[in-house]
Amino acid sequence: MDLSRLDRRIIFLIIAIVVIVPMLFDVTPEVQITKDTEQIFDAIDSLKTGDYLMVSFDFEAASFPEMRPLASVILNHSFEKDLKIIGLALFSEGTAIGYTLLEQIAREYDKVYGVDYVYLGFRPQYVSAILGMGESIIKVFPEDYLKQPLEKYPDFLELENYENLPLLVSVADGSLPIHWADYANARYGQRVAVACAAVMVTAFKPYFESGQLIGPAAGVKGAAEYEKLLGYEGAAHRRLFTQSVVHLAIIILVIVANVSAYVWRKK
């Protein structure tokens, strides 16, 4: 039997099994912390109590399962450090997701909306929104997500533009961190850290190497490393076991296909 021509439905079934079965076991693999994740952790950790931190939820609904653990560790760390968080979204789909996540985690830390955090919501045309905030944040977002004027929150009035913002974190599944680098960092010198989908790391690598972006914490592995740095093993650790098994299964399948194709050719 030529296994290299295996019916794709059998491959789908194998993948389904190796995704579902590991989820039934509560295994948390040992995670090694990489310098990339350490960089974004250190950038947030170096902020002082009461410093502003802008978190941009630059992802869409499709990648929420991968982005949620990343966004959660960033918000957990920020609330633990008593930073003042300004949430926003430059993709319309990230707006509600970001707000819900921010609310959930803020509740765990007994944080108060308008005092410890605000959510600005969504603005279309991310290039002009990023550039506009460099001039005046209140001009781009005169009202927050709850339709309240920003003047209502005196704790956030000092935040005029990027000048008073020591760090911005883009939690992104696509190429938006490049726009943050191109427009917020290159033009206004804004420090931008990135928590991104694992697949995007190579796209951003030149920006990290040049120091225009900080990080990244990437994918489920990056989130698991961050959890370890925060001193707990959460959802990312559990997902990482499943990811390990799936990667191994794909590698075994590729080896089987190659060996089978070689043997079949010999015959």
Binding site: I15, P29, A96, T100, G132, S136, L248
Partner: protein, 207 residues
């Protein structure tokens, strides 16, 4: 006039945004902030054009009963229902709009995205073959990076994640940097051609 006017607008705004980058003069900064507002307003109108276009395409499909036309009804229904709920009851926390988004759209899109894992596995099974030297390099690189990006690689040997990181940091980044420099030079050239009115394809004609 139909071509000269848009070219003139393009030239004036192109030169202005280029020059104001080098100046911190308050008047120029204020004008620039105003232009950024206009950009958002113009973008919102393009969204409107997109919605009208979707309506036109799917209405035509329904009226001609083309292949899979019932899906077009669902598409239009989806837009209408979400627009009515959004404008009628708001989009804030607890609204029907947000309930539908969180309980229908998020799970559906996540499911679609998750299916990629199955197709990637199937494509890897068929595509990653030891056919020649180049394919062998690709195959071995893929295996090292896949193992190096999960804890399993570290458990087998520290060398695997180190090699995976070296691949990402060096050959992969070098290639990506080359592509980025190419894109940058291309963007500058295209921008200059548009500003100077040499590139006119955005007007709907030939450049």
């Amino acid at each position: 006039m139909r071509t000269r006017f848009p070219i003139a607008i393009c030239f004036v705004f192109g030169i202005f945004t280029l020059l104001q980058y080098f100046s911190k003069h308050p008047t120029l900064t204020a004008m620039y902030a105003e232009i950024l507002d206009w950009m958002q307003i113009v973008f919102v109108f393009t969204l409107l054009v997109g919605v009208i276009s979707i309506f036109k395409i799917h209405s035509a499909k329904i009226s001609r009963q083309e292949r899979d036309w019932p899906y077009s009804i669902l598409t239009i229904l989806g837009i209408v229902v979400m627009a009515v709920l959004g404008f009628g009851y708001g989009t804030e926390y607890g609204s029907p709009f947000l309930w539908i988004f969180q309980n229908i759209q998020v799970p559906m899109q996540s499911t679609m995205f998750a299916l990629i894992a199955f197709f990637v596995a199937s494509a890897a099974y068929r595509g990653f073959r030891f056919r020649n030297k180049e394919a062998a390099v690709l195959l071995i690189t893929a295996i090292i990076v896949m193992l190096g990006r999960v804890p399993l690689g570290h458990q087998i040997s520290d060398l695997i994640p180190q090699t995976a990181q070296w691949i990402i940091d060096n050959p992969s980044t070098a290639a990506k940097r080359g592509i980025l420099i190419g894109i940058g030079l291309g963007s500058i050239t295209t921008a200059l051609r548009v500003i100077l009115g040499i590139e006119r394809s955005y007007l709907g004609g030939r450049s």
